[in-house]
């Protein structure tokens, strides 16, 4: 009878647990998850060509950007939550939106009402609006957008600005 109980055979090397690769994969996954969590809090990505105004003050007048419905006014369109709602012609409202023939304000009203309805059923912190507008947008356009926001029930506004790095 083989005396196997006296001496054990050493384990072959290929059976050893390789944790180096596993540690690499988990480290990369951890960094991906951390970056994804950090970017989901703000999600501020203006469209190409939109130049946000630079802040001239510091301190308590500037607040961190909070999660809210995003309305962007660029040179060529108004976007709500990243989706183009109505086109603009050199920052100005056209008489009617091409393709639909409806007034741009009506399209904007519908989009804001949808977001308002969604915000009412979601986290209360999302009840406000954050406005990303190109610095060259004339106030006439901004005023019309603000009027639609007010009629949709949004009264709290965050004006997104760029902090100058020193």
């Amino acid at each position: 009878m083989r005396k196997t109980f006296l001496r054990k055979k050493p384990m072959p090397p290929e059976f050893a647990l390789q944790i180096t690769s596993m540690a690499d994969i988990f480290l990369i996954l951890l960094v991906f998850l951390l970056k994804g969590y950090a970017s989901s809090v703000t999600g501020i990505v203006p469209t190409a060509g939109t130049r946000l105004p630079v802040a001239i003050t510091t301190g308590s007048t500037l607040q961190p950007v909070r999660d809210a419905v995003t309305v962007e006014i660029s040179r060529g369109a108004i976007l709500v939550e990243g989706k183009p709602i109505t086109p603009l012609v050199k920052y100005a409202f056209p008489p009617t939106a091409p393709g639909t023939g409806e007034a741009p304000e009506i399209l904007l009203d519908r989009a804001l009402d949808r977001e308002r309805f969604r915000a009412a059923h979601a986290d209360a912190a999302q009840a406000g609006l954050r406005l990303l507008a190109d610095e060259h947008v004339p106030y006439a356009t901004v005023e019309r957008v603000l009027a639609r926001m007010a009629s949709a029930g949004f009264i709290d506004l965050q004006l997104v600005v760029v902090r100058e790095s020193r």
Partner: protein, 156 residues
């Protein structure tokens, strides 16, 4: 990990040959650095809190309305700024002398607060052609003196 060398002398303890393999670590950090560079955001953004105000004509405001006095700051073309006080004020001030540039806005706000200590809110409006950046700057400077600043949405 390299296997233990066979012990030449049964009395000697086998020594382990431990080597640190840097290749996987370098691969891992190369991938991480590439990903972080691609996903880095070089834009530091903040927000200025404001409200939305819809103006009503003064005729619709009852005479015995609240005693609160509100300040309207209007940014005009060319960077000029005009002020108006709304509410119960004796005597009514109306549109004050326009100032040149937002640089003197802080000084005028400081003077107004001393003259009318009950001022608690301010509304910022602008002429139609004024660029948005000038309006934001006026709001920022006004926020230093008033906790509540509103942006005018016109009389729609």
């Amino acid at each position: 990990m390299s296997p233990l060398p066979p012990a030449s002398d049964p009395g000697k303890r086998p020594t382990a040959d431990v080597e640190l393999n840097l290749a996987p670590i370098i691969d891992c950090f190369t991938v991480l650095i590439t990903y972080l560079l691609v996903s880095a955001s070089f834009l530091a953004v903040s927000s200025v809190d404001a409200g939305i105000a819809v103006f009503r004509s003064s005729a619709s405001t009852p005479a015995n309305a609240s005693d609160s006095v509100t300040l309207e700051i209007r940014v005009l073309d060319g960077g000029r700024i005009a002020f108006a006080l709304h509410g119960r004020a004796t005597p009514p001030l109306g549109l004050l002398d326009p100032l040149d540039g937002a640089g003197s806005l802080s000084r005028r706000l400081d003077t107004m607060l001393r003259a009318v200590p009950t001022l608690s809110e301010a509304t910022v409006s602008a002429a139609p052609a004024v660029p948005y950046v000038d309006v934001v700057r006026a709001v920022e400077l006004t926020k230093k003196y008033f906790a509540k600043v509103y942006l005018s949405a016109g009389g729609h």
